[in-house]
């Protein structure tokens, strides 16, 4: 089993009245609400948390990409990864991921990730995402071209990393006379690819065909099993059996010495902050037209209806990982086995949780849980 330290780097001062007025913490939530001085402090604390995870023996630390929002302050995941490269030495740096369909020029991604891979001594896990629907509003990109651009950008980046340059690329969306990326990545043939997904059938099939590990976030356990089941079916169709190492799931982890009830009470306000303020994503923002196939959209409407009944997105697949360190350890193994997942994206700092509180859980986890988990 592999344990990743997940992070969104949220803005912790989202004003409920302002969110209500704009119905969203994304795209239109005014950036006059951002305070750069607090921002500097937050980047320091959030990076310290990930650096601690490296020192404590986590397998990977995660950064990701979201634009024009108060939900996550990492519009450029590669800048965050660069900051972590120089402060860490052991953990993989998982970029989950670069929104390759959002870049006018995918060669910029090929270059930047290759740079990071060389500088980090081959520690980069390269996630590729289409970006959630909100990014298409924020960057004024046509969502109906997103899937095709994602696939072509992926093919181009992979070829740029593996085929000798210069070569010509004459695609539907991208044309280059000279593809000749300097530097080339250190890991051969290229940094491992990882695919975070909302569970659309097209992406599951595409990832299964290439044996790319999958991570689904914010879906309830039953849906998660459905998506993983679909991936396994596709994998069988492509002639192999998908093992647990191909599945990741995200879970909030919160440890309290007095057990589950105390941990839940301590965590609850931050979860509520996340659900009611960070994750305020009206459906047209989350799923702009043409972003996915009609059948996937219909599934998404069903999930949205389930979620609005449940009061917000699922922060764990299965039981939340809360309680004493011992309780968390037991549940973690049980949850992972139930989902058939081999990678846990452990999420400690959520919503407006202050640094010290997140660090307490991380330290307890590192000291009392991590050593007992079957690794590898």
């Amino acid at each position: 089993m592999e344990i990743y330290a997940f992070h969104l780097m949220p803005w912790p001062k989202i004003d409920p009245d302002v969110v209500e007025k704009y119905t969203s913490a994304w795209v239109v939530y005014p950036n006059s609400e951002y305070d750069p001085e607090l921002g500097q402090q937050l980047y320091g604390e959030y990076l310290d948390q990930l650096v601690f995870a490296d020192e404590a023996g986590f397998d990977a630390i995660c950064v990701n990409e979201h634009h024009q929002n108060a939900y996550g302050l990492m519009p450029s995941p590669n800048i965050m990864a660069a900051a972590l490269v120089s402060r860490t030495s052991r953990a993989k740096i998982a970029i989950l991921g670069n929104g390759i369909a959002l870049r006018d020029n995918p060669l910029r991604v090929a270059e930047e990730v290759a740079m990071l891979d060389v500088m980090s001594g081959g520690r980069i896990l390269s996630g590729f995402v289409r970006g959630i629907g909100a990014e298409y509003h924020s960057l004024n990109m046509d969502p109906t071209r997103s899937r095709d651009m994602f696939f072509e950008a992926h093919d181009l980046i992979l070829k740029a990393w593996t085929d000798p340059g210069p070569f010509n690329w004459d695609g539907e969306h991208f044309q280059f006379r000279y593809v000749n990326v300097w530097p080339r990545p250190l890991q051969q043939p290229h940094p491992p690819i990882f695919v975070p997904s909302q569970g659309s059938a097209e992406t599951l099939e595409w990832a299964a065909e290439r044996r790319y590990p999958l991570a689904c976030t914010f879906v309830p356990m039953e849906r998660l099993k459905q998506f993983y089941g679909k991936y396994r079916e596709y994998a069988e169709g492509f002639g192999y059996t998908a093992g647990p190492e191909q599945f990741g799931l995200t879970s909030v982890v919160h440890i309290h010495p007095d057990g589950e009830e105390a941990a839940m009470a301590s965590l609850e306000p931050h979860v509520r902050y996340f659900q009611e303020r960070c994750f305020t994503l009206p459906l047209p923002t989350f799923f702009p037209p043409g972003y996915t196939a009609a059948s996937s959209y219909r599934t998404r409407l069903e999930i949205a209806r389930e979620m609005s009944g449940a009061g917000g997105p699922a922060l764990s697949a299965g039981e939340p990982l809360v309680g004493t360190a011992e309780q968390v350890g037991e549940r973690l193994v049980r949850n992972m086995e139930e989902a058939g997942a081999g990678k846990l994206l452990a999420w400690f700092q959520i919503g407006d949780m202050p640094h010290d509180k997140a660090m307490y859980s991380m330290e307890q986890f590192a000291e009392k849980v991590l050593p007992h988990i079957p690794r590898g």
Binding site: H137, P143, L283, P284, P288, P289, G290, Y297, L301, S308
Partner: protein
């Protein structure tokens, strides 16, 4: 009314045909308005109405060759030829108005008369409200005053109707996500060479009547504001659109 298949190059277009009289080509607008409806029935009392479903609309996938409105324009030119229509009266609503303007600008020889209703296409002075980011019921409210949008609410409405609307919205997004206008259209509109009339709802919340007046001025066409109607006058006050079409046809006969 019957629906016929018409072959244009490698694409099978579906065209609703109904009514009797001189030919009228009706270019539908956005938000699932491609089906035969009240406005079609009323026009069919005076004209033979040809109402094509635009490529990518009416529940089908967006063809790969559709990049912008002008691709639809050249498709429509082929469609008019395949239907053997001689300089028909072309009516276009909202996004369909943009298609009608673009057709009349690129192929003035194909269009006998032009009637636009709340047409898009020209760059507005003030940004148009972004209907893609609004919840479906609210977005529909921008299009017509008399639409009940609650049925397409994604969380509480009919899940199939909500999905259908979203699917068609994708075709609209392909044509107008990045810009809900064509900045080249203003100069091109000077090529239009037929009688025209520009119809606008007095209560249009998407584009104000002042914007329509600019379109009319460029075309040198009369500008008719319809009271108690929103953006899609075809839905809120169909009789006014039919009257304008009949009048325009009559004036054309006199010339």
């Amino acid at each position: 009314m019957k629906t016929v298949d018409v072959s244009v190059i490698d694409y099978q277009a579906r065209v609703h045909v109904g009514g009797e009289g001189p030919p009228l080509v009706f270019l539908h607008g956005e938000a699932n308005t491609s089906a035969w409806s009240e406005i079609h029935d009323r026009l069919a009392e005076h004209f033979t109405v040809y109402a094509p479903i635009h490529p990518g609309f009416g529940g089908e996938e967006i063809p790969a060759w559709v990049h912008d409105v002008t691709d639809i324009t050249f498709h429509n030119a082929g469609l008019l030829r395949a239907l053997e229509l001689e300089r028909p009266l072309v009516v276009g609503v909202s996004l369909g108005g943009w298609m009608a303007l673009d057709l009349a600008a690129h192929r003035p020889d194909l269009v006998g008369a032009l009637l636009t209703v709340g047409t898009l296409g020209l760059r507005p002075d003030e940004p148009m409200p972004d209907i893609f980011i609004k919840q479906a019921p609210e977005a529909l409210g921008y299009l017509a005053e008399s639409i009940d949008g609650s049925v397409v609410d994604p969380l509480t409405g009919d899940i199939d109707a909500a999905t259908d609307l979203w699917v068609e919205l994708a075709a609209q997004a392909r044509l107008m996500w990045e810009r809900p206008y064509d900045k080249r259209l203003q100069r091109r509109l000077h090529q239009v060479d037929c009688p025209a009339v520009v119809v606008w709802g007095a209560g249009d919340r998407l584009l104000p009547p002042e914007h329509g007046r600019r379109v009319a001025e460029i075309l040198g066409a009369p500008f008719e504001v319809v009271p108690e109607a929103g953006h899609m006058v075809t839905i809120d006050a169909p009789a006014a659109v039919v009257a304008a079409a009949v009048k325009l046809h009559g004036e054309r006969e006199e010339i």
